[in-house]
Symmetry: C2
Subunit: 186 residues, 2 copies
């Protein structure tokens, strides 16, 4: 059952959640990162009802996160693979896994660990970083400014936020940097 769509909310997080916000959806993406490709593999690993799995896989294909290819001449054997857009979800999956390991692990500890393939060492905790100095940033070191798609309402809200932050002793940068509008697109 689909809930009201968040896609028309003018916020990248809401729009991202609209595509990937269903629990099963992110767990399917997790399995795809772990090498799952076939319907039956996803079904067995997730213990998910076939009709739900079918729906979610279709939605991931429609959303451009998975691509499906026939792997037999008859076209009956299908493989679901991550697209570039899907692979770009890696930081989301890693961030969720690390938070879960730290704050929601089962009593015995995390069942799996993410390690650097070359060394076998656990990967570093994901953290926001300065694009200028490459140094880790705490949440309070990160601010929000209007982007190219900001509506008048967004700008009004950001002004209110700026006033509130200044009152709390966390001044925003005086003016957004000239190229701030290029944003996080790599």
């Amino acid at each position: 059952m689909r809930r009201t769509s968040f896609a028309d909310m003018n916020c990248s997080i809401a729009r991202a959640l609209d595509l990937i916000g269903e629990w099963w959806t992110l767990l399917i993406v997790r399995e795809a990162f772990l090498g799952c490709q076939r319907f039956g593999e996803f079904e067995a690993r997730l213990g998910i009802a076939p009709n739900v799995l079918s729906q979610r896989l279709s939605r991931l294909v429609e959303g451009g996160i998975l691509q499906v290819t026939a792997t037999s001449q008859s076209g009956k054997a299908l493989a679901y693979r991550l697209t570039d857009k899907g692979r770009d979800l890696h930081p989301v999956i890693v961030a969720l896994a690390q938070w879960g390991d730290r704050h929601a692990a089962a009593p015995g500890g995390p069942p799996i660990q993410l390690v650097e393939r070359a060394t076998g060492m656990p990967i570093a905790p994901l953290t926001a970083r300065s694009a200028v100095t490459d140094q880790p940033l705490r949440p309070r070191d990160v601010a929000v400014v209007a982007g190219p798609g900001a509506s008048d309402a967004d700008r009004a809200r950001l002004s209110a936020l700026r006033a509130q932050e200044q009152a709390q002793g966390r001044p925003m940068p005086a003016e957004p940097a000239p190229d701030a509008c290029q944003g996080n697109r790599r």
Copy 2:
């Protein structure tokens, strides 16, 4: 309406999603990072029905992600603030925002930009990093190994995954597992 709980799935991602996997939940956390504290502020900014907001706030308090304090003597004015556990969700929020900016932004572009407070420059794209060299890791550079909470089923599954990855030319790091002792060619 709560769906079946994922908390008993032995996976940190599933358990994290069980706590924060509702769309509204993460949007509430996003607003908390932006300085929202009062019920009415969340309500106005998210356009969320009061009964849904009330449910979600309670769940976030129960889950230890928000803490609620009375800000007036009568106890009627309540402030919801992020706990340390809640603040640790920052990488999840940033990862979602960056993916959304890149892949799910509205036609006019992202409405807000995450910038480094000190410089006003956009923050760097979040990426997994080596704890050894601090260098960025691609998804293929990250592997999974059994953690302290791994069940027999988890270990069996990781063995199967290891065999599959070796067949694909992506050897896992040497690990104390019977089948990992055969030559790891790189």
